[in-house]
């Protein structure tokens, strides 16, 4: 339905030497991402961790097609990204559900934008609302929901489009700790069963929470202090299906955590020292 030719052995997402330079209003240039190489295989869940403000989010906007790289290439299924693609889903850090639409109408938005008939869009939206546990809230407005419920609406809004590529920009960072763990589990469940035929979406999940990254991902990518580039990649070989709260206590988890932190901690220190010198 989405792509006519099977993508073969091409990785789901590939960034080759991608750089992004922004112009600040004062005319200076700011390099957010520099010479970034990153590969995400089909159905792989990749978590990207790095110090705050290092340019992790920019990586996602490049893959999504919202921004174009200044240099280098971004490929999805072997083809260069030239604009926004229907097979890409994006869950934002901040609330991005439409406050003037009801919950149901929010979930219907994507299919409606892409020309799905109203009745079918409504049916699919209801199905996804059921899966995220908000069937009873279809007629509410977002302001009547809690932060966790709004995030669920955002997830349903994204998953209803049946994305092959799932980009998540610190989606749970605004939630409290318990809700966050709950949502992580739900995300893994939705991700596992999201695509027909059992083929899961390929995910880039940006976070600054290393525990969350390890608990969710197949592969953790550590970014350098800004401008962001890949520092090291760590495979996470914890068995699936995982439960976030349980996996956290396993010896292997702690081992991986220690290993990645020794790499990430250094970048965090650099960022902090820079911040201090800028203030001083």
């Amino acid at each position: 339905m989405i792509s006519g030719t099977p993508p073969g052995h091409a990785p789901a997402i590939e960034l080759r030497g991608a750089s992004k330079v922004f112009r600040t209003p004062s005319g200076a240039s700011h390099t957010a991402v520099r010479d970034l190489d990153l590969t995400v295989e089909q159905g792989e869940f990749v978590a990207v961790v790095g110090p705050t403000g290092c340019g992790k989010s920019t990586t996602l906007t490049l893959v999504s097609g919202l921004e174009e790289p200044t240099e280098g290439e971004v490929l999805i299924g072997g083809k260069p990204v030239t604009g926004i693609r229907p097979e890409v889903g994006f869950v934002f850090q901040q609330d991005a559900v439409f406050p003037w639409r009801t919950v149901l109408s929010n979930v219907m938005a994507g299919p409606r934008f892409r020309g799905v008939p109203k009745a079918e869009a409504r049916e699919r939206a209801r199905e996804w609302l059921g899966r995220v546990g908000l069937a009873a809230f279809a007629d509410r407005y977002p302001h009547q929901l809690s932060g966790g419920q709004r995030k669920r609406v955002a997830l349903a809004q994204t998953f209803v489009g049946d994305p092959e590529i799932l980009l998540m920009d610190e989606p749970f960072s605004a939630l409290d700790v318990q809700t966050r763990a709950l949502m992580s589990d739900e995300l893994l469940e939705l991700w596992g069963g999201s695509r027909p035929g059992g083929r899961a979406a390929s995910v880039i999940f940006v976070t600054h929470d290393l525990e969350e990254a390890i608990a969710l991902a197949d592969k953790v990518v550590v970014m350098t202090a800004g401008p962001a580039t890949v520092k090291e990649v760590f495979p996470v070989r914890l068995p699936r299906p995982r439960k976030v709260e349980a996996v956290r206590l396993e010896a292997e988890f702690v081992e991986i955590y220690r290993e990645i932190w020794s790499s990430l901690g250094e970048e965090v220190r650099i960022t902090r020292e820079r911040g201090a010198s800028r203030v001083g």
Partner: protein, 301 residues
Amino acid sequence: MSAESVDAVDAVDAVDAVESVRLSSPLPTGRTAARAKAVRRRRLVVYAARVLVLVVVLGAWELMARNDVIDPFNFSMPSKIWDQIVQWTLHGTAQGSLGEQIWYTLYEALFGWVIGVTAGVVLGIALGRVRFLAEVFGPYIKVLNALPRIVLAPIFLIWFGLGPASKVASAVVLVFFPVFFNAFQGAREVDRNLVANARILGASNRRVTLQVVIPSATSWIFTSLHVSFGFALIGAIVGEYIGATKGIGLLVSVSQNSFNTAGVYAAMVILAVVALLAEGLLTFAEKRLFRWKPGGSGAGE
């Protein structure tokens, strides 16, 4: 004290809407009832005080005019103003029935308001969305806005004659600018996340404008609608005052020319009532349109 108790009531209402259990357990019913009673009593006191202020002001005016502390010819008095309103209502004015005068003014104001609002919203959104247009037209709009536009009313009278058209035109120029600036600002300040989300979900540029920019600009636009209906009335009245065959503005002008002070005041009172009614209608429409917005106390989250 009262704000706190209103919050408590909202919190109780909100419990079933919110998934996470709130820490504030429902209040004991006795205290809730006492608080509700206190709120009601306070509201009553406020109303009573309002009426008292009105009675004192009007009473003092009447007394001073009757006892010649102020000149009743120049300042008139409430009872005479009331008589004038009753006389106009029952026997009509020199220009025809009172209803007809009100209708004329309302018609001109409404017509001008609709044109001004439409032009303001369309241009405001367009300039807010398309940077090139904003850069080209920006300076001209600033210059026009700096002009005291009410001085255009005599020119419109020359251009469009004594009929309603010249009043509509004055109303339009008064209404356009506040609406335009608010729509422009509203289109500029749209949450960038919402736009990004809509685009990711597959919305075209047109859809983004219609389904994201315009809905988020409506609260900005509505703020200006309240003010601008007042401006539309001013435009119509000033236009009528300068030269017209019908309307409340003409009533003011005719009363003034015949040294009928009570008539001037009576026309003002009628105008105020009309403006308040229009304002009420607008508030009602706004409430219907903004059901998606959290209430004033922010009970939703």
